[in-house]
């Protein structure tokens, strides 16, 4: 501690250790918080097509088009340890060939400071709703769920499903629009 550099080294290392302890404290204050919020999803229109699929092993696959509304208030999730939320809407269903299919239809990133009240109307899906085969036609039960991944400043990244989902049957024929 006899020279400036030696004192500066000691001071800087101490500050970094204290900063690490504060970050751990930040993590501890929010580690056991429940990150679920109620979500309201409504589907207004569903259309089904059977198109050429160049990504799979067969000639034609089912392609679904969904128009949906989402409303949710994500305000309670944000605290001093949340940097952003990664939301995604996924469809889950069973077919004759696969017992569980999960397809992500739409996603969005919400940063802290942005508007946290979601009130989306007549949204189209961002990604193609392709089925692995032809199992979407006349499917009785397709469940849409909004889930999110919480990205913190310090700690674990929990994957949380919103407590509100909607199940709907798909049309019996191709190129026929079904409205709800």
């Amino acid at each position: 501690m006899n020279t400036v550099l030696s004192r500066a080294n000691s001071l800087f290392a101490f500050s970094l250790s204290v900063m690490a302890a504060l970050t751990f404290g930040c993590f501890v204050t929010t580690a056991f918080k429940d990150r679920r919020v109620s979500v309201d999803i409504h589907v207004s229109k569903v259309m089904l097509k059977n198109v050429d699929d160049f990504t799979g092993p067969r000639e034609r696959s089912d392609l679904g088009f969904i128009t949906f509304d989402i409303s949710a208030d994500l305000e309670p999730i944000f605290d001093w340890n949340v940097k952003q939320l990664f939301l995604y809407l996924s469809a889950e269903y069973a077919t004759k060939s696969n017992s569980l299919n999960q397809v992500v239809l739409w996603d969005r990133i919400i940063l802290r400071g942005e508007n946290t009240k979601l009130n989306l109307r007549d949204m189209k899906s961002k990604y193609f709703f392709f089925d692995d085969g032809n199992g979407l036609r006349a499917n009785k039960n397709i469940t849409l769920t909004l889930s999110w991944n919480v990205i913190p400043n310090a700690g674990i990244l929990p994957l949380v499903a919103g407590s509100g989902h909607v199940s709907l049957p798909f049309p019996e024929q191709y190129e026929a629009t079904k409205s709800y």
Partner: protein
């Protein structure tokens, strides 16, 4: 260019070094506690970091330069021996004194 910086005296005596270490540790710890509580209240971790950085800046100002309060207990060296006769007898005394202060 570097020799200019090396010629500036930056030493402190031992009690001064201990005082400097206590001062900066105290300032950083107090700013950490204040920053943590303030960040927890307004729910923004950025403010915690800003307050700790402010504490770091204040500590730098107070402890990095060799202020006079860190030089109040200088080591009592032997007086400088005259060149001609007293040298051989003074040297072993000086080395014994230096070992004691370590």
């Amino acid at each position: 260019m570097l020799s200019v910086f090396k010629s500036i005296p930056t030493h402190m005596d031992y009690k001064g070094q201990k005082l400097a270490e206590q001062i900066f540790q105290g300032i950083i710890l107090i700013s950490a506690v204040i920053g943590f509580v303030y960040g927890l209240i307004i729910q923004q971790f950025g403010w915690t970091v800003y307050i700790v950085l402010a504490g770091f800046a204040v500590s730098c100002l107070l402890t990095l330069p060799p202020w006079p309060m860190y030089r109040r207990n200088p080591l009592p060296w032997q007086p400088v021996a005259p060149e001609a006769s007293g040298e051989p007898t003074q040297k072993p005394q000086e080395s014994i004194k230096r070992k004691k202060h370590k």
